[in-house]
């Protein structure tokens, strides 16, 4: 397995400090405010996540960082550069994996990498070996001459990631990188992203999958309706905003609400959803026994550890995936 190579020096010579610094970052479209005054800073080499439901403002934030959307107000610096005034320079330092693949279907797999590299003005002498290196990294070497159309969803995603690395970026922006992929393809992709992280690439990713955020992110912000609800490492967020364990009970959609009243007092907190009742407790098994002791017989019951989904539910009163 070849290691992906990245330059150890900062792309902008002499630049120190957080690679991304946002303060009061705001984006409005007419009356609608998609991103409402968010502030965060990302140090070099961190894997930083934006977690939130669809429409939370994640993609808009990514576009502003990527230098393809101008902020309405606030400050934003990418490697010390303002993307509003230095858009092309900012984009030269970034790798972008958009939410929807936009591979060049008129070009073969390897040619996709070469053409994309030329958009950055990179010379062929650099691009030829780099393309081969990236194909190997993306496990697509035997598909070099294939049509993009003939690739599976997971392969297309890996090719998009390989393409985003052609300019040797210090920061990689991944917008919903595994949405729509089957579990196996997701795990392959996560493994590739881990390797990039180990190589020192700063990863910025949006997701509405909490397992993805837990797997990949050192630190994340929970975003809803354009504002930051919480910030921290996945473990710290769970510790702060949820109990250790959760009991999920299903009594049938008709009865969940009525039964919830009878569960009062069990665990630290109750959450009634249309399809299930959640009991937040430090000892899930004990809580489940308490439920049985009250003579309640759920159709299904499950004790699990708290996840970021619970954090989100706690903070916003809503589920992440509708």
């Amino acid at each position: 397995m070849p290691q992906i190579t990245t330059s150890k020096t900062s792309a902008v010579s002499g630049f120190q400090g957080p690679v991304i610094a946002a303060s009061n970052l705001t984006k409005s479209y007419g009356d609608f405010t998609a991103v409402d005054g968010i502030s965060f800073a990302v140090p070099a080499g961190e894997a930083f996540g934006l977690l939130g439901p669809n429409g939370a403002g994640k993609s808009t934030t990514m576009k502003m960082i990527g230098g393809v959307s101008r902020r309405t107000s606030g400050e934003l610096a990418i490697m010390g550069l303002d993307p509003n005034t230095n858009g092309p320079e900012v984009r030269a330092h970034l790798g972008v994996v958009p939410q929807q693949d936009n591979l060049d279907e008129e070009l073969r797999v390897r040619d996709n990498l070469l053409a994309y590299g030329r958009y950055f003005g990179l010379p062929k002498s650099y691009l030829q070996p780099k393309a081969d290196e990236l194909l190997e990294f993306a496990q697509l070497t035997d598909k070099a001459k294939a049509r993009v159309d003939d690739l599976s969803g997971g392969m297309k995603r890996r090719l998009t990631i390989a393409r985003s690395l052609i300019n040797d970026p210090r920061i990689l922006l991944l917008d919903e990188p595994t949405t729509g992929l089957d579990p196996q393809a997701r795990h392959i992709l996560w493994d590739r992203l881990f390797r990039l992280k180990e190589a020192g690439v700063t990863l910025i990713l949006t997701t509405h999958y909490m397992d993805e955020a837990e797997q990949l992110c050192d630190r994340l912000i929970v975003v809803d309706k354009g504002t930051i609800m919480a910030e921290g490492s996945p473990a710290a967020l769970i510790r702060t905003h949820s109990s250790r364990e959760v009991v999920e009970l299903r009594f049938g959609s008709e009865r969940n609400t009525t039964v919830a009243a009878e569960l009062d007092g069990i665990g630290e907190r109750l959450e009634t959803l249309p399809d299930r009742v959640l009991i937040y407790a430090n000892d899930g098994e004990a809580a489940l026994e308490a439920v049985s002791a009250r003579g309640l017989r759920p159709i299904t019951s499950l004790v699990r550890r708290s996840s970021l989904e619970d954090v989100f539910l706690r903070l916003t009163g809503r589920s992440l995936v509708d």
């Binding site: 190579t5 990245t6 330059s7 150890k8 792309a11 902008v12 010579s13 990527g66 230098g67 393809v68 959307s69 101008r70 550069l81 005034t85 230095n86 858009g87 092309p88 320079e89 984009r91 030269a92 972008v96 958009p98 929807q100 936009n102 591979l103 060049d104 279907e105 008129e106 070009l107 040619d111 053409a115 994309y116 030329r118 958009y119 950055f120 003005g121 990179l122 010379p123 002498s125 650099y126 691009l127 070996p129 780099k130 290196e133 300019n167 040797d168």
Partner: protein, 284 residues
Amino acid sequence: MSTGPQTGAAEFLAPTSPGVAGNRFLGSLYARNIRAVFARGLKATWGTNWSIMISGFVEPVLYLLAMGIGLGALIGTVTGPGGEQISYAAYIAPALLAVSAMNGAVYDSTMNVFFKLNYARLYEGMLATSLGPLDVALGEILLALLRGAMYATGFTAVMAAMGLVTSPTALLMIPAAVVVAFGFASFGMAITSYMKTFQQLDWVSFVMLPMFLFSATFYPLSVYPQAVQWLIQALPLWHGVEMLRQISAGAFSLATAGHLLYFVVMIAIGLMVTTRRLEALFQK
């Protein structure tokens, strides 16, 4: 860190590092990298679309044969732009050359661009790199021009074979046809950037066909009432037809320069609008 990327990174970071950012002509709109867009287009087109390529060329040739030889046998000679008597085929040939240039340019800048804009999302990908919207616009328009130039050269060869190219200056028709193609390509791409559905593309052919038939292509403008003449004279194809007709006969006048100016303005407006639209669509 391997050695390859180091040289590569140095080469590509140098022109985009903040210290020299001001050297970028037109700032963020232009990265002086039209070549990358053009090269990509050549690679993508190569080996595909040949049937469409050929049909766009064949159509005006068929008109030249049918109208020029067929109808021309009935009509005999007509008065050319210099006042001299010329064969009917010689009269319509430069007009059909203008049509040929228009066809090539419009096909590339409407159908092809629309698809890349809305379905292949090609420009979205390009504009996430260091490329500026003007690089993308000019690169794509140059491809349309290449096609226009190939059609024009082929058509001029057919004209020569039919004995319709009588002076060396008539060869100036080829660059003039490329100017016509440039006008239509930049304007076509600008219009396409506003289109949202394939149905709206039908409006392009809805405008192109009557413009082809009525822009003094097959008969002089004087057959129309004054009001219709003004309408035709406002449209680009008439200027292309007249310009090429004057060049083919070697009858240059101030009017020739006027027609050329019309296209220069058309090119400028088309490029400006296309660049702004690409920026508004993908970099706002």
